[in-house]
Amino acid sequence: MVTITQQRHKCIGCHYCVELAYDRWRMSKKDGKSVLLGATEKKGFYTVRVGDEELDDNLKAAEACPVKIIQVRQR
C-alpha cells in the first residue's frame, strides 16, 4: 500500500508530476495546479492510497516536484 499526499495550494503548475506519473496526476484547467486523482482533502492536504505498482512513478514525481509538496510513503 502506498500513500500519496499533496500540499496542493503550494503547487506552481510546472507539470512534472503529470509527466512522470500520468496515471495519478492531471493539471486542473480551472486553477492551473496539479490534481491528485482520487484524493480526498483535509486541511489543504490531498491524500490517496494506491497499490504498490504506482510507487516508482510517484516517487519520481515527488523527487521532481520543484516545490516539494508531494510525499509518497509505502507501508
Partner: protein, 412 residues
C-alpha cells in the same frame, strides 16, 4: 526645474511593503497573485481575493497598480490567467505586466492595459514598435547601456511611436535591486539542477552560491578568487540618476518583491528624494552621499551601476547574503494606540527595549514606522528598559495597531 514626467514604481510583496511604498512616495506599485508571476515560490504572495483590497488602498492614495502575470504560460494555465485578467478588469487594477504573447494578446483584447515585462528582453526600437501594438509601457532590457537607452527613447519621440492609448509609448528601466546573471532573467540553471524553473517564478538562485572547478584528470579543485562568480552585485543608479533620467525614460522600476517592508520604504524614499532633487535642480554629490549611506543600511549584495555605464562584466559579490549595515531584531507586538497622547503600547515578547533604541514598527495598515525611543513607561513608571514579558508604552507619532510588529534596529 525639469518638466519630465517620471514615475517611481515600487515592489509590493505584502500589504506591509505596499503601505511602505505608498508612504515613501511611490507613484505606482507592482505585485503578483497566485503562481503565474516571477515570485511564485514566495510564501507571501497575494491571492486573487486580495486584489480588491489592494486596488482600494492604492486608489485612496492615487497610486497606480500593476499586476505581474509574466511567467511562461502552459495550456493548463489559460483558464487561470484569463480569470486573473478578468479580476484585474473588475477591480480597476491599472495594468498587467506580461511577457507571454497569450497574456499580452488576451489582455489587450479585453481592453486591459498591458505593460511589457523585462522577460521579453526589449533591446531595440523595432521591438518597441512591435509591442506598441499592444502596450503603452515597456521595460527595456537591463543589459542596455545609457547610450542605447537614449537612442531608443529619442527614436520613440522622433518616430512618434504610440501605444493603444494613442499616447507616446512610455519607457521603463530598472533603477535599483537584484540583478540576474542571465540575460533578462531567462535562466535555466535552477531548472537543470532542481526542476525548478526561473521562468515559472521558482528560481532557487543557484547563481548566489560559490562554486569549485575540478580538474577531472588529476582531481585538483580550484576556488575562483573566492568570489561568488555567478552572483552579480545589486544594481544601484542613484549616483548617476541624472544621466539615467537624462536619457528621456519615463518610469523607474525598483526590484524587490521578496524584500522586507523597511527595505521598500528606504529604497523608495531615497529614489523619491533623488527624482525630486533632479527635477528641482538640487541633485548634488552631498545628497547622493546621504542616499548611498541609507541604501547601504538595508539589504544589498554590494552595489554597481549595472550595464548602463558600459562597465566591464565581472562585478560579482563576495558574500552569500546581504551586506546591509543594519538589521532588525524582533521585540514584540502592538497592543493599543492612545491617539490623544500619541502613545503606543507594546508587549515585549523577545529581547528588551532600551531607552535610545532605534525601532521599526511594521504592519499591514501601518506600513513602516522608523523612530527612536526616548522615554519608556512600564506600569506608568518611567524606566530605562522594558524587558521580555512586560507591556510598555512610548511616543509614536503615527498610529500603530494591535497586529503590528515591533523591531529594534541594530548595526551589523
Amino acid at each position: 526645474m525639469i518638466e519630465q514626467q517620471i514615475e517611481l514604481m515600487a515592489p509590493a510583496g505584502s500589504f506591509e511593503a505596499l503601505m511602505a511604498a505608498i508612504q515613501a512616495g511611490a507613484n505606482s506599485v507592482y505585485f503578483g497573485v497566485d503562481q503565474l508571476n516571477m515570485r511564485a515560490r514566495a510564501t507571501m504572495n497575494f491571492t486573487l481575493d486580495d486584489l480588491g483590497k489592494i486596488a482600494e488602498i492604492c486608489q485612496q492614495y492615487n497610486v497606480k497598480t500593476y499586476l505581474t502575470l509574466n511567467t511562461i504560460i502552459y495550456d493548463h494555465d489559460l483558464s487561470l490567467f484569463k480569470r486573473i485578467v478578468q479580476e484585474v478588469k473588475k477591480h480597476n487594477i491599472t495594468a498587467i505586466i506580461a511577457s507571454d504573447q497569450a497574456v499580452i494578446s488576451y489582455a489587450h483584447s479585453q481592453g486591459v492595459e498591458v505593460h511589457i515585462s523585462t522577460q521579453t528582453n526589449i533591446t531595440n526600437i523595432e521591438s518597441v514598435k512591435f509591442f506598441a501594438h499592444f502596450a503603452d509601457v515597456m521595460v527595456l532590457a537591463r543589459e542596455l547601456s545609457l547610450k542605447q537607452v537614449k537612442a531608443i527613447a529619442d527614436a520613440v519621440k522622433k518616430e512618434q511611436i504610440t501605444g493603444p492609448s494613442g499616447k507616446l509609448v512610455a519607457l521603463e528601466v530598472f533603477a535599483h535591486g537584484a540583478l540576474c546573471m542571465a540575460v533578462s532573467g531567462k535562466c535555466y540553471l535552477s531548472l537543470h539542477t532542481h526542476n525548478s524553473s526561473a521562468n515559472r517564478g521558482a528560481c532557487i538562485q543557484n547563481c548566489r552560491r560559490t562554486y569549485t572547478v575540478i580538474d577531472k584528470e588529476e582531481g585538483f579543485e580550484f576556488d575562483i578568487d573566492n568570489e561568488f562568480i555567478m552572483s552579480p552585485k545589486d544594481l544601484c543608479t542613484i549616483d548617476f540618476l541624472d544621466q539615467l533620467l537624462g536619457t528621456g525614460i519615463n518610469v523607474l522600476k525598483i526590484e524587490g518583491r521578496g524584500r522586507a517592508p523597511e527595505y521598500v520604504k528606504t529604497v523608495i524614499a531615497c529614489y523619491r528624494e533623488a527624482i525630486d532633487a533632479y527635477q528641482a535642480g538640487t541633485y548634488t554629490s552631498a545628497r547622493i552621499e546621504g542616499w548611498m549611506k541609507r541604501l547601504h543600511n538595508v539589504y544589498n549584495r554590494g552595489f554597481w551601476g549595472g550595464y548602463y555605464l558600459g562597465q566591464k562584466l565581472g562585478e560579482w559579490t563576495d558574500t552569500s547574503g546581504s551586506k546591509a549595515r543594519q538589521k532588525k531584531v524582533y521585540l514584540g507586538k502592538g497592543v493599543h494606540y492612545f491617539s490623544n497622547l500619541q502613545v503606543g503600547e507594546f508587549k515585549i515578547e523577545a529581547q528588551s527595549l532600551k531607552k535610545g533604541d532605534q525601532i521599526l514598527i511594521t504592519g499591514q495598515t501601518t506600513g513602516v514606522i522608523e523612530t527612536s525611543v526616548y522615554e519608556i513607561r512600564v506600569n506608568n513608571a518611567i524606566v530605562d528598559e522594558a524587558k521580555r514579558g512586560e507591556a510598555c508604552s512610548f511616543k509614536v507619532a503615527a498610529k500603530i495597531r494591535p497586529s503590528d510588529k515591533l523591531y529594534k534596529v541594530v548595526e551589523v
